[in-house]
Each structure stands twice: as structure tokens, then as C-alpha cells.
Symmetry: C2
Subunit: 363 residues, 2 copies
Amino acid sequence: MRTIWRAGDGRSVETIDQTKLPHAFVTLRLASAEDASRAIREMRVRGAPLIGATAAYGLALALLDDASDGALDAAYRLLVAARPTAVNLRWALDETRRAVAEVPPAERAARAFARADRMCDEDVAICRAIGEHGLEILRAAARRAGGRRLNILTHCNAGWLATVDWGTATAPIYRARQEGIELHVWVDETRPRNQGAALTAFELGEERVAHTVIADNTGGHLMQRGLVDLCIVGTDRTTANGDVANKIGTYLKALAAKDCGVPFYVALPSPSIDWALTDGLAQIPIEQRDGREVTHISGLAADGQLREIRLTPANTQAANYGFDVTPARLVTALITERGPCAATTDGLNGLFPARAPGSRGPK
Amino acid sequence: MRTIWRAGDGRSVETIDQTKLPHAFVTLRLASAEDASRAIREMRVRGAPLIGATAAYGLALALLDDASDGALDAAYRLLVAARPTAVNLRWALDETRRAVAEVPPAERAARAFARADRMCDEDVAICRAIGEHGLEILRAAARRAGGRRLNILTHCNAGWLATVDWGTATAPIYRARQEGIELHVWVDETRPRNQGAALTAFELGEERVAHTVIADNTGGHLMQRGLVDLCIVGTDRTTANGDVANKIGTYLKALAAKDCGVPFYVALPSPSIDWALTDGLAQIPIEQRDGREVTHISGLAADGQLREIRLTPANTQAANYGFDVTPARLVTALITERGPCAATTDGLNGLFPARAPGSRGPK
């Protein structure tokens, strides 16, 4: 099962409403750019690659109704503003717009759908390739562990729910499981939206990967005690020099990994690279969301109902930054679909020479 | 109002059930060592100094019923085992036992109550003194901020609810507020028990100190952006060389503070010093609690009821470490009731020469 697919009516796509997981598995039909934008903003779909795919379909859906240049621009602007940090959103929209720009309006919707379909297939292939390259790293770590079960820490959800299939950070884990490597995953719950406790735990449970949910406060302690062999996380945007924007709190885990000598890997599909940026802290826009996502939380009550409760005193103000930037110096390696590389300009240029700044190759 | 007081019947003490805050203010009557032990274990009272005071009263309550040596020992053993990390618990029990050891059984209960009463007064005096010394640090920081509002980050609750009154980490904040220093507190929510979101936010709201609750993941990002002038936290046990055990996640904030050049202070009442230990990571026992505190959470539902909800898939396993150890090298200074000092053996010995290892002075 993929996380987004074209519906039978040919005029909509379907996806999973991730705000209901793990308590209910509910699908969601998107029939317009507005639907796609809302699903992204409300985080019913989330994860940088899936946001990209959803936006691409959103553009295609808009073109079904009105394939004029004006409608194309309006849909692009609506969708690109849905969330600011993951660069995949802009990348996917640029790719889709490019695919339709030179064709007559009557063909645009079909071209856009075709490009979105292909983008999904590409995402699956990218994740599979990240899985293979990451598997090598896990194999080496397992050898170093000498037969002991490998302990991996991850933050947020960079699993199949965040992508079209396989996931980025989880792809090596799923491959290692297939290969019979004994492993166990420490799952950061990832407040305030709890993508770890809700989504990664759900995924790993479905795939029968041993795992333990922990409060986000816990990873440093575990690393101090030698209970983490390596960390793998995803990314929403990585700069050309290897600075990594990822879910808020990633930076803290990278600091602990550095302090404790634990390797810290970032699974990086190339559409998450922002080749135009060279300073993550200064240049990557960090989303701020409603403080209510911090002061209130939903879950399954004893009566079987999904309920929201308030955690703070009434009217308490909360700040809700969605991402932080992990400086490249804290990253052991980036794991891309073309293999691992150092989190440096040279490292990325070595794998993607045509995309390097100043390159004359195709962009 | 203090957090623990003798009831009018002379045979019990009362305290605040902190598991109900901030949604309900409920007092709790403790009439036996068992009651005191249960209140500590269930975290109805918490915070190292208040745990100590509650244990001291617990011993006094036991002696009301049976003042024999055997009963004294049994109550001591019951209470000292209630929680493992905060050394104040053992300190308070040792102090109280010492106060009654040499007197006839008929006088023991009264002596124990008197010692517990005095311990509470001492705690208030210690917190006031920490407040004065911390105020100097905040004054200097405010001068450096040049009139701009001072931003302070704190983790967990080291406020008046954690002590008998004033708090440790919050005492300088409350004093600074009295002095008219403009400040704002970033309140880590402090999963899994949310002492920040529930208790520190409640306290600061009552005292009209500007504050914003944040997910525990957020502090590193804020420090990277220059939005934190200094951190102040409490401690459950500090070793003779300055290693600090405090609520899980403290280590991560100390790492970020170091990385970002933000001063990191620990408010340290001397009963929280474990003079026998010289290696926090190796020697301080770290409490592990029920994983259910991670997978489930309580709060106020829309219907006005306190409700518990589940956050994870059914039967998800969670680990729940209560504390971590921040190595002394990450601590800018300890703020004790005798003044600030370096987080080193020499620093602590300078302020407490009689307690230094190898000293012949009174212990």
C-alpha cells in the first residue's frame, strides 16, 4: 500500500488521514488544489516527500478544472504556501509546472497527473536506494556490535507514512529486518505532534520491528549509557553545504550523539536538497504553528472516543516551532539515493555533480 | 502558602496533590509513613526538597504510632525506598533519625516533628538565599541585555511546588520580578509528566511572570536563534565534583547551551549535594518508572472532566527514565544558598569546607 493514489473516478486522489493514526485508519479524498493545500496545512498528510507528491497532485487537480496559465499560477501559489520548511513542496510544484508549461491547456492535467505519478514512483525508487545504502551502514554497525542487537534512535516519522512507500530513515531499518539483522528502535515520541509515538510506532509495529517509545527528553541519557548504536533521521530541507532542517528537536539529539560518540545519519532524498542555500541557520524558513498543538493533545479515551484534552493552565501561551537546523558539523554522513556522503559541499557535489552550485550541467 | 503543613489534629500533615494541577487544587492528608511513601511514589508530592520534607514528616507520623527502634527502622526503610534519585530523601530521613535516635521513645515523635518543621523552615531560608544569589546573576544578565527583556529557559518544575516555598530555580526569577527586572520564561513542558506545562506554568501564571510553554524539543532552536539569555534548572542530586542529576532532558539543554554560548545555571540547595559521590554518570541511580506514563496522558477534556487518553498504538512498549546526568563541564555555575560556585570539587569545597571529602569538620 502506498500513502497516496489516484482514485477510480480519475478526478481525485486518496490518501491516509494521518491525524487519526494510530487510533483509526481513515482515508481522505482530495478533489482540488484547495483540498490538497488544506490536507498539507492540517498535517493530514505530512513528511517532506509525501507533501511534495500531494502538492503535485494538487496542481494536477486544479488543472482538471481550469488549465489556463492563470489557474496554474494560482494553484501553484496556493500550494507552495501551504507549509514553509520542506523544500520538496516547492521542488514538486516546480517539476510539475515545468512538465505542463509548454503543452496546450487541454493536455495539461493529464501531463501533470503523469508527472505526479512518476514522482511517486521516483520517490519509491529513491527510498529503496536509500534503504540499500543505509543497509550497508547497518550491516557494518551490526558487525561492530558483535552479534548484540543493534539499537537505533530515530526522531519524528521518516517512515513510509512520510513518503510514498518505504520511508527514508526507516528504509534501511526495514531492509535490515528483511536481512535478519537483529535490531531495536528507540522511537522519540516527537512532541508536539507525536509523529513518533503515533506514526513511527504504528509503522514499526505493523512491520514487526522491535521498538520502544521514549519521551523526547530521553535520547541523551540513552546515548550516555551506550544504549544507542546510531541515530537515523529524515530531513525536510538540507542545504548545499549539508546543514539539515528536520523536525524540532533533531538538533538536540545530534548534539548528544556528538558528545557521546554515536554516529548520526540523515537519510536524504535528493529532492530534499536546497541547492540554492549554503547556511541552514540563516536561510531555512522555520515554520511556526498554532500554540494549541502544544497546550492540547488528542488521543484515545477509555470510552473508545478520540478526545482532546488540555495539558496546561487555561489561556497559557505556547510557542510551536516546527523544525530546527542541525549544523553539518554534527552529521556523520548523509545517506542519499546515490550513496552516503559527508555533510559538506564537496560531499554533496561528489554525488550530484550536475546540481552543484556553479555547475553548467542540467539542473 | 507552603506546600506541606501540619494539620490541626496534630496527627497528620497536609500537602497539595500535584497530580491534579493545574486543573484542580486538591489537598491531601498524610497520616502515616505509608501515606507519605505512597504520595512520594505516585508523585503527588515531588521535587527533591519537598520529597525530603514529606519523608521527614512520614518518619514523625510513624513514630506517633510506634516509637520503638524497630518501627523507626521500618519506617526509614519504607520511605528511603520511595524514589531513588533525589538524595534529599535520604538526607532528610538521616537528619530526622539522628534527631530522635538518642531520646526515649516517648519523646521521639515530638522531636521528629520538630526536626521536620525546622527542615521546612531551613528549606525556605535556603531557597530565599538562592533567590538572592541568583538575583545578582539575573541583574548582571539584564545589564548585558541592555534593557531588553531577559529570556530564561527552565526545565521541569524547580518552583515553590518542588520545595516548601519559593523554589530553587524559580527563586531568582521571583526576586527579579519583585525588583522590576523585565523577564520572560521559556517553560519546557517536561514530558512525560509535564511538570513544566502543568506546574511551572501554573506557578508563573499565579505570580504573573511572563512565560511561554514549549515542547521539550524546542530549547535548542531557541538558543541557536539567540532567544535564550540563560538557563536555570534545579537538581535532584549533585555530586561532590559538580555532576548534576536532574529531570530527564536536562542534559540535552545543557549541551545546546554549551554549543550556543548560553550560560547554564543549576540552583542547588546543599541538601541536594551527595558528598559521597564523585562521578554522576557512574554513581547516581536513575529512576525508571512505568512506561504507561509515556503512552498515556491526563488532562482536562472539553466536558470539564479530567481524562486520560492513550497516545500510542495499543500495547506499545515505552521506556520511562526519570532523570539524566549533566556532566559538570556543561554547567556554568551552581547557585547554592551560600552563593554561586564553579561546578567543580574545588568550587563546592570552597563554599562548604566542612563537608568536603576528607574534611575533619562536622558533617
